[in-house]
């Protein structure tokens, strides 16, 4: 009898695409595309806060956005830096504006 592994879809199937795009952006930031905008807030002896402003978040809830950002950050920057992150927030441009997220 053939043995087959069950394919498990962990979450929204689009999440993998977003994660890969974020990894790419962290490794090689592109100035020729308007989004995603990654805002990193960190300093010596301070935890890191990550904000990713992106229209593509649309149908993802905050928990999923947070997990995608963390998975991408870990892949791009490694597990040492990931332990310094205490906030990973995904926002659409409208949400970012409403929350008053400012960046350079």
């Amino acid at each position: 009898m053939p043995l087959r592994r069950r394919r498990v879809l962990a979450r929204n199937p689009r999440s993998e695409g977003l994660r890969a795009r974020l990894v790419e952006e962290w490794r090689q930031p592109r100035e020729d595309v308007p989004e995603p905008i990654i805002v990193e807030e960190s300093g010596p002896n301070k935890p890191t806060h990550l904000f990713v402003i992106w229209s593509d978040w649309g149908d993802f809830n905050q928990q999923e956005r947070s997990e995608i950002i963390m998975d991408a950050y870990e892949e791009a920057r490694g597990s040492d830096l990931v332990s310094l992150v205490t906030v990973a927030m995904g926002l659409t441009p409208t949400e970012a504006e409403r929350m008053g997220i400012e960046y350079e």
């Binding site: 935890p47 928990q63 947070s66 990931v82 332990s83 992150v85 205490t86 906030v87 990973a88």
Partner: protein, 166 residues
């Protein structure tokens, strides 16, 4: 405006969770006192879950007004590293939050006093045995001993909440 719309307008904050925990705890107690033990224990378990999350977030530097959901993803990573065999159960497990909190404190050279640490581990392990977020889909009534355990463990947590993160 509907309740859902009002709630969805703003992300819940650490302080929201602390206040909600207080409400759920008293509502749970009201239910227990009139013999509605299934609903009572369910609400009390949520009260504990919220306090454990807040204790971890507060210790990690969160201010009362900081949003909770963007802190869940960052909590999952140290969880995988520090307590890999303990599932977070969609971030609802009291055992996960208690052990993560202790591991985080130890990794930052700020462990709790030994007696407090032992109490937290024992009580949250027991709470984990007597409360499960999936209870909402079950019609089983908890036994008097289970109800008493949940009440005792949640009450202990409420009494010691501030000591956990200060």
């Amino acid at each position: 405006m509907t309740l859902r719309r009002r709630l969805a307008q703003q992300l819940e904050s650490v302080q929201d969770l602390e206040l909600a925990s207080e409400s759920r705890s008293w509502e749970g107690l009201e239910l227990l006192l009139v013999g509605k033990t299934s609903g009572g224990t369910y609400l009390m378990g949520f009260a504990a879950e919220m306090l454990l999350k807040c204790a971890y977030f507060r210790f990690s530097g969160a201010a009362p007004a900081d949003a909770v959901k963007p802190r869940l993803g960052p909590a999952r990573k140290p969880g995988q590293l520090l307590i890999p065999v303990v599932p977070h159960e969609q971030y609802h497990s009291p055992r996960f939050w208690a052990l993560l909190h202790l591991a985080a404190r130890r990794s930052r050279h700020a462990p709790l006093a030994a007696i407090m640490e032992a109490q937290l581990v024992q009580r949250m392990r027991r709470l984990h045995q007597n409360w499960w977020v999936e209870m909402r889909y079950r019609a089983i009534e908890p036994s008097p001993l289970e109800v008493r355990s949940v009440f005792d463990d949640v009450s202990w947590l409420r009494a010691n909440y501030v000591l956990l993160w200060r």
